[in-house]
Amino acid sequence: MTVSDVFTRCAAQGRGALVGYLPAGFPTVDGSVDLISAMVDGGCDLVEVGIPYSDPVMDGPTIQAAAETALRAGVRLRDVFTVVERVAAAGGSAVVMTYYNPVLRYGVDAFARDLAAAGGLGVITPDLIPDEADEWLAASTAHGLDRIFLVAPSSTEERIASTVAACTGFVYATSIMGVTGARDSVADVAPEIVARTRPHTRLPIGVGLGVRSGEQAAQVASFADAVIVGSAFVSAATDRGTDGVHDLAAELADGVRRAGVPAPA
């Protein structure tokens, strides 16, 4: 299974993909495996396993707090490989979402090697732009990992073009200018950034930042190929544990199925 296979399978079912995020080690290593498994059981097509980081500048209060909890409980970088391995063994498809410094510190090639060995499919890098990514481009190619870079509403056409050219697997479009966190409505700029990105790539485009309900998921899936949900899963885990995560995944999975596939560009 590759990231591309995940999207192909969803498209064959006439729907977009649901991508769910939870941090490794939140609230404990075993606990995070249970939560992620519940997310997969509830209907997540692809999971993003987050690496808790001390200085998460792209994250709002919910994910910051989860990262702090995990770090205080003693999560180590190598635990992410354990979590990915167990998720993959249970039949899930996992990519890792991480700030760049933990990867740098571990060794970029060693990180790619060990993630690939654990069954991870790729990495989303919120604070690494392709301009600075030579080492990561080489390591991800060498170890067969997808590299998912972000485009933003403020990105120029040229930057969208150069960023998607460096991506494999899918493109992560940040739907709003801002940090992670559930919001009541999907920003108006979300369809626009997807529409601006489409002409530059044949890769699927996922939209993240702010989604928390089935209705929003359906709305996003009407113009994007994947709906990415993070903070809402963290909140669900905090409030109701695996049941909360399972129920939210089921609601969101129903949302992406209601929407159908985006009209071809």
Partner: protein, 432 residues
């Protein structure tokens, strides 16, 4: 005092130094941009605006006029013979950035960036601050130039630098205490970056040091190059020769790079940065990033940082809020690697001793940050002896630190402190 220099503050901006990063802001392997894509457009806009302003006589003239009439440049060079007696008889010369308006070198950079903000058509400025020196300078420039100002400051720092919180609020700024992470400068920068990602269309992030993503390290450096350019002329005029050592404190490294830069091509001049040694390197409670850290990416740039084996940022510690930072500017990382500058730790105790010594011997109360450089100069003078000339950057004045010092030296009892009575209220109240 205004005697010597034919140096204009804009010279460091208009004229290249000969030590430039590559096009994408790399100093060797350091610097660059390790940022969310959402910020790249704003960084490109800033770099373009800065490049244009560097060649614009109106911008350069306005910067010079403000620094002359408002900042009070050039700042004087003061002989410190009585301090020298405690430093092996070495001749110590003090570059008096403490005498600038707002009380530190920070105004050099702030006025430059505030003028750029106006030119970019942005109305709102955000800033981080540790000791409050950069926050006060930013609040001042925003008052002067009619810009909305929001300053992020760690809650630990709003408590220990309560007077500066009040100053910022008097100047019309909103001060937001940051309660995440270690609640110091590092976390204030995180919050400022989050604000910037959210409000980048309307807002300029007026970063206060030579760290962060390109173009900040080179641009902030250029605005501070005036320190070294003036000092070099002043020392030559005063002594007829170059100093043996240039000493400065290093947190993020802006005052140090500002004074070092004019001497980089003078191989006889040792450039020494003094980092916060806190309770002592061996205790692990310090902020000596260059002496003890390792390369990594933090706050948008590759540089040295204090980190654990998983790449998590370690908490720094210093009695000095302005030096209490686990990162450092990328050009310092390069200067260290190529051996052009040295970096040595100075403990809290050494810094406080120097704080008292300079106060008593010369009647100059330095910022605790700057007291690290003074302590380093005294240590060096004892090594080098009476023939040595040491130029020290007194980057700020110590009024803001009197409460901390009074406690350190037991001059007032706990509970008598102005900070205890009012500081907490100043720090936490008045957010509206």
């Amino acid at each position: 005092m205004a005697s010597s220099t034919g140096v204009k503050p804009s010279d460091g901006v208009a004229n290249r130094s000969g030590h430039e990063p590559d096009e994408r802001g790399h100093f060797g392997r350091y610097g660059g941009r390790f940022v969310p894509e959402a910020l790249v457009a704003a960084l490109d806009e800033l770099a373009a605006a800065y490049e244009k302003a560097r060649h614009d006589d109106e911008f350069l003239g306005e910067l010079d006029r403000l620094h002359r009439d408002y900042t009070g440049r050039p700042s004087p060079l003061t002989d410190a013979p009585k301090l020298g007696e405690h430093a092996g008889g070495a001749r110590i010369l003090l570059k008096r950035e403490d005498l600038n308006h707002t009380g530190s070198h920070k105004i050099n950079n702030v006025l430059g960036q505030a003028l750029l903000t106006k030119r970019m058509g942005k109305k709102r400025v955000i800033a981080e601050t540790g000791a409050g020196q950069h926050g006060v300078a930013t609040a001042t420039a925003c008052a002067l130039l009619d810009l909305e100002c929001v300053v992020y400051m760690g809650e630990v720092d709003t408590a220990r630098q309560a007077l500066n919180v009040a100053r910022m609020r008097l100047l019309g700024a909103t001060v937001i205490p940051v309660r995440t992470g270690s609640r110091t400068l590092k976390d204030a920068i995180n919050e400022a970056l989050r604000d910037w990602v959210t409000n980048v269309d309307s807002t300029h992030y007026l970063l206060g040091t030579v760290a962060g993503p390109h173009p900040f390290p080179v641009m902030v450096r250029d605005f501070h190059r005036v320190i070294g350019m003036e000092a070099r002329e002043q020392v030559l005029e005063r002594t007829g020769r170059l100093p043996d050592v240039v000493a400065a404190c290093v947190g993020g490294g802006s005052n140090a790079i500002g004074i070092f830069h004019a001497f980089i091509d003078d191989p006889s001049v040792r450039l020494i940065g003094f980092e916060p040694g806190g309770d002592g390197i061996e205790t692990g409670r310090h902020g000596a990033t260059l002496a003890e850290g390792s390369p990594g990416a933090l706050h948008g740039a590759m540089s040295y940082l204090l980190q654990d084996e998983d790449g998590q940022t370690s908490e720094s510690y210093s009695i000095s809020a302005g030096l209490d930072y686990p990162g450092v500017g990328p050009e310092h990382a390069l200067l260290k690697d190529i051996g052009r500058a040295e970096y040595q730790p100075v403990t809290d105790a050494e810094a406080m001793e120097a704080f008292a010594l300079l106060s008593r011997t010369e009647g100059i109360i330095p910022a605790i940050e700057s007291a690290h450089a003074v302590a380093g100069a005294v240590r060096l003078g004892r090594e080098l002896g009476p023939d040595a000339t040491i130029l020290v950057n007194v980057s700020g004045r110590g009024d803001k630190d009197v409460d901390t010092a009074a406690k350190w030296f037991g001059m007032i009892a706990e509970g008598e402190s102005a900070e205890d009575a009012d500081g907490t209220a100043i720090a936490d109240g008045g957010r509206a």
